[in-house]
Symmetry: C2
Subunit: 121 residues, 2 copies
């Protein structure tokens, strides 16, 4: 057991790419991931799991067809499983995510923003 | 589906007691809970689940027998299942927690700090 605190700012300082979620902690079969977000992600859903967004720095939005949820620092949102959504950030945003181990960032949509899975930082 | 961001600061503004975890979001069978921490909690463990601590405001410590982990704002820690620990906060700290639905705050230790479960805020 590693008795070291996980410092989110330090984790964010270690990479600069966008939309690539990196694992910082695992709790039971779930993974906390950090990612920097900028501009548009792809429309996608996750058929088998809800997904948590927690904004650590700046702000982002999640589009759902007719509705848009704006998330500022210290705000979170749960996207229910099977619900199509498109994350978006005007300025680079730092986000913390929670998903079961193995979830692919783009769901089944794929594309060039599909990231390698289970990459720890 | 409720398209409203969950604002942690607003949640913390709604109560003043210590060590009483209130649910703010559910993701699959897991619950995010907020609590204000001050002074000593009880030594306890959770036999069946890991437990996540994420410090939102100020700082706290988690004691583990010979080791102590200090957590400041923006830092998190996962206490593995079955590991005895005692949270502590010198000044009132605001924490975000993640546990499976139904987990009791004091584990099997009970006592006067045992809180009612599944209370949403």
């Amino acid at each position: 057991m590693d008795y070291k605190a996980i410092n989110l700012k330090e984790k964010f300082s270690k990479f600069s790419d966008h939309w690539f979620p990196r694992v910082v902690a695992e709790v039971n079969g779930y993974q906390f991931k950090v990612a920097k977000l900028k501009d548009d992600f792809v429309w996608h859903d996750h058929k088998d799991t809800d997904e948590v967004f927690l904004v650590v720095h700046r702000s982002m939005s999640i589009e759902f067809g007719d509705e848009t949820v704006d998330l500022n620092e210290g705000e979170m949102f749960v996207v229910p499983k099977g619900v199509k959504h498109k994350p978006f950030a005007q300025e680079e945003c730092h986000g913390l995510f929670l998903e079961p181990r193995g979830v692919v960032n783009t769901g089944e949509s794929g594309g060039e923003l599909k990231a390698e899975n289970n990459v720890w930082i």
